[in-house]
Symmetry: C3
Subunit: 212 residues, 3 copies
């Protein structure tokens, strides 16, 4: 199993499915075709753009424009076929879960290469995996998926941990696929069975004006 | 027609009018004078800051502080004179249209110089032209201008295409002004005549809790 | 008084208290333990990450992972002890004020070293001091503290001015502590006594649909 190939597959897979979630968000908001393209591009490349700027390496799509073309192609596909879906929101959630798993591993791997520190790798993996979705939800004006009851960031942390722990023990490609699988499956359990960690037990926050 | 001068004019024009839209947003929210300064600065320099970080070139206002002073001067002018406007929202829309046209060309030009790829130039032009407005609307808690019916991103795409296509055929300054004019006029048509592309035909998105 | 020590103290102090405000925001939203960690990390390192990317210097926590561990430790402390607080919102406001003062000075100092320009130093100080809080409030879906009546950005501007003006006259560590004290005390006056600058006098903004 070739490590480079594994990371490339996960990289394209992550970008494509995040782009699809961006286009699905545009579809739910009934935007025009350019709105589909815009949301697909910013969601597809958002997390990775931040990751590369953070690690001070050249931003991947500025070096390799084909990534932008992938987002554009996906946006067109979603524009044509989204009406066939029974629930675009469920499709969005499942594709987002795939992207979360894939991007966690790609982000952790690039963080590990740039810094040599497993702890940094976990943070870059998690931040870049969740950032595209945060940007998508904020611009579309939807409540962030982070604030839902189910595990989300947790799935990314689990995937990053699996990858970072597996890295010294396994062939790199194997560690990458295992990290992806762990991240995706934890999130899949959350979507399918409502997996969640216990919420903070204390009272919810009051509104500022209700505090004496 | 001197190319350097054309880009410099569009650059200052874009920053000044975006700064004015930031100050107008502060005025609509009845903030204090420092709120005017803050919104003028982040809206004026926001898109270009992101553009320069993305292309890994020195951030323009860190190198050349006069840009920040331009934003501050504009904020003071708006603070003093905004009450004379019949509709600050309309003024905001029209200035935003000028900034959109100007910043599209400046962003596309810097992207073209840094990457040599016309496709990258279009993406950097569009992203950096719309980003200042996105930041302004998100922090002010207003619905993003992106989500309105009329063309907005489309105007920027049109301007970037006109600039990139005109670049090899025309003197650079001429291509810049044409790209600016196309971007501004498409957006102006949207504001004045409600130009829009057909919206996505299918049903709007349901709320997560209504999906079985 | 050692300057390096002063900046390091303010740096760790700023990160720790911002991390605590992130964890308190997570507590008010009743998130799970990973939500506490996530909000603590992004609020603690958010402003400084942007500052370092802007100045094109290595991002502090990628070089020095201990900063991330500080945020994690703080998140765990808040998770265990937040229920003892009478008002988490008030604790959040006061810690945010400490972080605002500290981060203003650290941001201004790094901006001054990188650019040599006092005007740039003020902008980097203010932007990086307020950014962590903006990100925290936007992701948590709370109204930004910037939009409240009281002075907030103003406190940061005052602290940055005090530091930049004191810098050539005083030992560096002294100027740093004075800038911190001014920023914190102005914000403290706002929280305790409702200090505010006069709001813009004209009419509030109408909704787009109400404008003829």
């Amino acid at each position: 199993m070739d490590a480079l190939t594994a990371f490339q597959i996960l990289d394209y897979c992550g970008i494509a499915v995040f782009a699809a979630t961006g286009a699905l968000a545009a579809s739910r908001k009934q935007l025009d075709i350019v709105g589909f393209l815009f949301f697909a591009v910013i969601t597809g490349i958002g997390g990775g753009t931040f990751r590369d700027m953070l690690l001070d390496i050249p931003v991947f799509w500025v070096v390799q424009p084909v990534y932008v073309l992938v987002c554009i192609g996906i946006a067109l596909l979603v524009y044509v076929f989204a009406h066939l879906l029974e629930s675009r929101y469920k499709a969005l959630l499942w594709l987002d879960a795939l992207g979360l798993g894939a991007y966690t591993v790609v982000g952790a791997s690039k963080g590990l290469i740039a810094s040599g520190e497993p702890s940094i790798a976990i943070v870059t993996g998690v931040l870049t995996a969740v950032l595209g979705g945060i940007i998508r939800d904020m611009i579309a004006g939807e409540e962030s998926v982070l604030m839902r009851d189910e595990v989300y960031v947790t799935a990314s942390v689990a995937g990053a941990l699996a990858f970072v722990l597996g890295q010294p023990l396994l062939p790199a490609g194997m560690a990458a696929y295992i990290g992806f699988a762990v991240g995706f499956l934890v999130r899949a359990g959350a979507i399918r069975y409502g997996w969640s960690l216990p919420r903070y037990k204390s009272r919810p926050g009051r509104k500022p004006e209700d505090i004496p």
